[in-house]
Symmetry: C2
Amino acid sequence: MTFWTLAARAAAMNPSVIREILKVTEKPGIISLAGGLPSPQTFPVTDFAAACAQVLEHDGPGALQYAASEGYGPLREAVAAQLPWAVDPAQVLITTGSQQGLDLVAKVLLDAGSRVLVETPTYLGALQAFSPMQPRAVGVASDEEGPRVDDFVAQAGSGAERARCMYLLPNFQNPTGRTMGEARRAALSAKAAELGIPIIEDNPYGDLWFDQPPPAPLTARNPECCIYLGSFSKVLAPGLRLGYLVAPKVVYPKLLQAKQAADLHTPSFNQRVVAEVLKGGFLDRHVPTIRALYRRQRDAMLAALEREMAGLDVTWNRPAGGMFLWLRLPAGIDATRLLPHAVERNVAFVPGAAFYAGTGDARTLRLSFVTATPAQIDAGIAALAAAIRKQAVACLNMEP
Amino acid sequence: MTFWTLAARAAAMNPSVIREILKVTEKPGIISLAGGLPSPQTFPVTDFAAACAQVLEHDGPGALQYAASEGYGPLREAVAAQLPWAVDPAQVLITTGSQQGLDLVAKVLLDAGSRVLVETPTYLGALQAFSPMQPRAVGVASDEEGPRVDDFVAQAGSGAERARCMYLLPNFQNPTGRTMGEARRAALSAKAAELGIPIIEDNPYGDLWFDQPPPAPLTARNPECCIYLGSFSKVLAPGLRLGYLVAPKVVYPKLLQAKQAADLHTPSFNQRVVAEVLKGGFLDRHVPTIRALYRRQRDAMLAALEREMAGLDVTWNRPAGGMFLWLRLPAGIDATRLLPHAVERNVAFVPGAAFYAGTGDARTLRLSFVTATPAQIDAGIAALAAAIRKQAVACLNMEP
C-alpha cells in the first residue's frame, strides 16, 4: 500500500466482529441468535406500499427532489409531538438512521484524544461511529441498571480532561437488554448537569416494552444538557434508514452543518413515506403487536434457557423489553472460543467482548430473541447448551 | 456555550452561503438561477411508483430489513456494468448520495493538516465534506478545462507534505460548467501516477452531455490510483439519495468500514427501487430526454445573455453539458454585493467566491439553467442585466 497514504484513523477501521459473524450465519440451516434484525413479520409492508403510492401520486416532484438538511417539516413535527417532553420541531434533525446521529455527534463534540464516557458494555456501533474522530472511549463501571453514579463521577475528568459527553442507551440496552431505573436516571442526570457533562441518550428500543413503559428519558429531565437519538428502525422498519436527533439550540446548528456535509439530507422520499404511514396514530396500533410478538419470543428464550442450561453455571438476565438478552458462561469458558463450536451445532451468538471500550468480560455473550421463531429459539438454545456442556467437560479434563 | 465544549472542527461548521441564499430564494415570485436542483419534469414519477409497488410486493421484507454496508448486489452489478472500464462489482460501494462518498474519502485519506488539492474554483460541497477532517485544501490554478498540469506539479508537495489526493470534477463542473479535454486528462493522470497522488474523480453530470459524450474518465486510465464517485441524482432523482463509489481493492475495505460506522448502509428499499427502475435499459431511454431539455434551457440562457448583456463588460462560457454556466462581471462589480440588488429584481444566483479553497474571484457567479423554464430564464437574465447595469453606473459615479 505504498501509493495510497491513509489517514491515521484508518488503522482503527477494521471489520466489525458482529459483521464477520453475521457472514458465517448466512450458512444455510444456521439458527442465528446473533444479529439485531427486527422480525420481518413486524414490517407493515402493505401500509408502506399504500404510502408510497400516495406520496408519489400527490407529491412526486417534492418526494424526489433535493430538500432541506433539517428534514421534512411534517415528519419533524410528528417526531416532536410523540416525544414525552416539550420539543420544538426546530430542534429535531432527521438522520439517515440513528447511526448517523452518532457520526454527527462525534464530529461536533469529539476532538482527537477527547475523553468520551460509555457504558460497560456499550453499543458497538457507537464505538465505531466515534472512532473516526479518534477520541478516548472510557467505560464507566456498570451494574444491572447501567452505569454506576459513583464511577461516572470518578471517570468524569476535569479541566481539559473533562469528558466531552457520556453515551447512554438506558432502555433495553444493546447488548445487555438491561434498563436504567428511575432513581438511577435522576441521579445521573443531576450529576451530569453538576459536572458539565452532556448526555447522549440513544433510545432505539424504548417503545418495545413488555409489561410497562420504561421511566422518562434522561433528556426529558434536562433537555438543555442532552442530545437525544431516536429511530424508526425498530417500530417500523430499518431498511428505510430513518432516525432523528433532538438537540438544544446551542448545538443544533453545528449538528445541522455536519449533516449537510455528510449527505446533504436524508432521502426526501423516505421521510414523506414514513410521515404518511404515521398519520392517524398508526404506531399506537402497530407497536403493541411488536411488543406482543417479542414478549412471546423472550418468554420462549427464558423457558428454553431454564430447561437447557440446568446444571450448568450459566447466568442470564430477564429483559423487560427490546431485543437482546445477556448471558454469562461458566468459569473458564470464553465466548469467542465457544462460537465456532456453537456454529458447528448450527447456532450463532455474539461474544460479549466486542461491546467493551476496554478489555471485555470474555465469559459474556449477547442473544437476540426477535429474529428466530420460538421453535428455532428452542433448538438454538439446546444447541448452545450442548456446546457449552462439551466445552465445560473439555475444561475439566484439562485441569491437572 | 459554557456547558457544551465543541470539537475544534466545529468552529469551521458554518451555514453554507448557497444554503442561506436558497432560503432567500424561497420568497414567492423570485426566479432562482442559484440552486442546483434538477428539473422536476425529468423525474420518472410513474416508473418509481411502479417499481415501489413491484419491490414491496415481491421483496417487501428484504427491502425493509437491515442490509450489507456494501450495498444491494444487483445494484452494484448494474453500476459496474454501466461504467466504461472493467469494474468488478466487489469494488462498488453504494453511498447515501455521492456527497457521502466525499465524507468517506475524507475520513479514510485525510488527517488534520493533510494537503488536499482541489480545482479553482471547486464544488463547495466537497470543501464542506472534507472540512471535518481538518485538512488544508489547496487550489490548483485552473483554466477553461480545469486544473493546469504545471500548477498541479507545483502544488503536489513531497514527503510528509505530499498531497493525499486531488479532487476533480472533470465533466460539466460544478460550479463552472467547464469540461476537461482528452489531452489534459491524459497528462494529469500520468502526472498523478508519477507523483503518487490519488485522484478522487467526481462525476455526477457526465451523462448530461449535449453534443457528444465527454472523454473517458480519468479513473478508466488508471483505476488503481483513483476513487470514482457517481450518482443517480441527476439521471433519476436526487430525493432518493443514491450514489456510489468505485475504489481499488487496497482502499475499499477502509471505505467500507467508514460507511458502516457512518450509517450502517444506504436504504435497502431505495436501492431495490432504483435497481428495479434501471431494468431493461431505462436510462438509455430516459437520459436523452434530460439532455434535450437541459440543452434547450442552456440555449435559452445563452441567447438571453447575448441579448441582455450587450454593451456590458460581462463574459460567460458555453457549457457542453450539465447544469451550470459561469459568468464574470465587469471590473469593479462584486457578485456578493450584487446579489441583494438582483434579489430586489426577483432573480437569484450564487456568488462565485463561495467555491474557492482560498480567496475567490469576486467578479464571478454561477448560474443554473436547469430549474427555471426558458421564459423564466429570459426574465431572470434581463433582471440580472438590469441589476448589473445599475451597479455599473453606480461604480462610474463613484469614480473621482
